[in-house]
Symmetry: C2
Subunit: 324 residues, 2 copies
């Protein structure tokens, strides 16, 4: 990068060997090499979202990232995938240095990953699961609040209250996720005790991300109350409210139970929304921070905004103090 | 107070004539003169919660507050009260200088209050309502996130994403509420652009608050996932999960509709929980920040923690910056 940005040093930047405590969320259907390379090149951590990839696609994406950057990157493996073990094996075979695991028991893959020297980070949304991850030997956790896009927790604990409680409970460093899209949220997360932030929605609405421009524009147009959590009884998922989301909400309000809800949902709704850009029938996974995203940006510009903004916000907070 | 605490100056401290940008939430069944006096004496803004008071009780409480402090205080009038106009008239008759209105149309009472020179603050949970309040002529808004205790919004927008969007949309100053219980959340809220915080749950679990010790202890014992939103289809309300809350949740999951739900709810459940301390059959209104409350505190100690903590958190955030 041309410009030298102010740097922040935390246990997470040290652990991962990155310049800035900014991690890009491994979003299904969004986080491929097109996004991962510029994030890692900018000095953050790009994360491949394996959740929506076949095993051979994952191999290809790892190779494509390596072709684009020599800086650190990671792979996110959601343990809800029936073939999660295969994706983990690929990470090991391809000598991936950092793996994020999510939505499952951290004790399943952590030992074999740690044995091979891989840095393991587990995504949690409660203190109980955070403690479990620490006991399983992970190096850090992502504490993801209910504001986040896509799959969210049943506990519904928000970032503002989750992060400090996880920080208090653990010895290992904590990455804050959910609801952060600008320098103000970045400073807020670090004030809460996080040592890095994981950013999803803001990075989906970038020039570089390889998802539909219609989906990106839906994020840009989203206002503060644009998102809603659907399929609470199956797997709570935060999406931008659209015709299909309304249909799911009405069904749930009528007390429609799991099998019928699963039928309604069918397969491939997220792909339909995110990749194909079907704004009425697809699921438009996005966090509450969509309301803060007012324009498409390049990845580089987002780093500039976060890091220059950090200094500006701190200066403002210092300025509130009255000198005597 | 004996000790001189560091002071922060914002448009809210100027507007209200208070020393610290810390406002105590006007909680029904909790916020009477026992709590309001020490908060105002500590240099924050104590707020009488008229929501659970008869008109004559409100008169008595205003007099009791004036007997205890000569510093600024306010009254919160929830517009859901059928006799809200009467409560507003009492505020005018008693020459109350600051009135908070909530849960209703800000255009209804603002003109008559402003005409008498009263400072008016309206509680909002969306950008749309914030703009409406500003247009109605209020002096400031409380932007209350979904983490908050008691009545919460249908939009479910959390503090971390709500506050910066309301700040961006308005000219008047914004007070952040929901999910804040310590210095970390205090700094986070000001980083987001708020010019003060409104604190509910943390002030309910004080030595001074005149609510049941059983209810206070339920807050202290609460863990991160302790609260839940019940009666989403009537009036979403965040409470600590207990036997009665579970019963409501099960009914809603079965698709039980409004009239039966209203029957189940009956009258006086919040009073039963908060005043009488019935931990299984009462509604224990509390915010997600209950998980951060680990001990009963005096009001004075909370002010010390927030204000000394502000400096410590800022110092930590400054320390992350790498010198070249």
């Amino acid at each position: 990068m041309a410009k030298e940005l102010p740097k922040l040093k935390t246990r997470i930047t040290e652990l991962l060997g990155i310049e800035h405590p900014i991690i890009q969320g491994g979003m299904a259907w969004v986080a491929d090499h097109n996004l991962v390379v510029p994030v890692s090149e900018a000095g953050g951590l790009g994360v491949i979202g394996a959740g929506s990839m076949t095993p051979s696609q994952l191999v290809g994406e790892i190779m494509a990232v390596r072709a684009g950057t020599s800086k650190p990157f990671a792979v996110n493996v959601p343990m809800t995938r029936p073939d999660a073990a295969k994706l983990i094996r690929i990470c090991l075979e391809q000598d991936v240095k950092i793996v994020f695991t999510s939505a499952g028991n951290p004790a399943v893959f952590t030992p074999q990953l740690k044995e091979k020297g891989v840095t393991v980070i587990h995504v949690v949304s409660s203190v109980r699961h955070a403690l479990k991850a620490e006991r399983a030997g992970v190096d850090a956790v992502v504490a993801e609040g209910w504001e986040a896009g896509g799959h969210v927790s049943r506990e519904e604990t928000c970032t503002l209250t989750l992060v400090p409680q996880v920080v208090d409970a653990l010895q290992i460093p904590v990455i804050a996720a959910g609801g952060i899209a600008d320098a103000r949220g970045f400073v807020a997360a670090l004030a809460l005790g996080a040592e890095a932030v994981q950013i999803g929605t803001r990075f989906a609405a970038t020039v570089e991300a390889n998802c539909s421009i219609y989906y990106k524009n839906a994020i840009v147009r989203a206002e503060d109350a644009a998102t809603v959590v659907v399929t609470r009884s199956l797997q709570p998922t935060r999406v931008i409210r659209n015709a299909f989301a309304e249909q799911l909400l009405r069904a749930e309000q009528r007390g429609v139970q799991e099998p019928q809800l699963r039928d309604m949902l069918g397969e491939g709704r997220s792909r339909l929304g995110i990749v194909d850009g079907d704004l009425s029938e697809g699921l438009l996974e996005a966090g509450q921070s969509a309301g803060l995203v007012k324009a498409l940006r390049t990845v580089e510009l987002i780093f500039e905004e976060f890091l220059n903004g950090y200094r500006e916000v701190l200066k403002r907070l210092e300025g509130l103090q009255q000198r005597r």
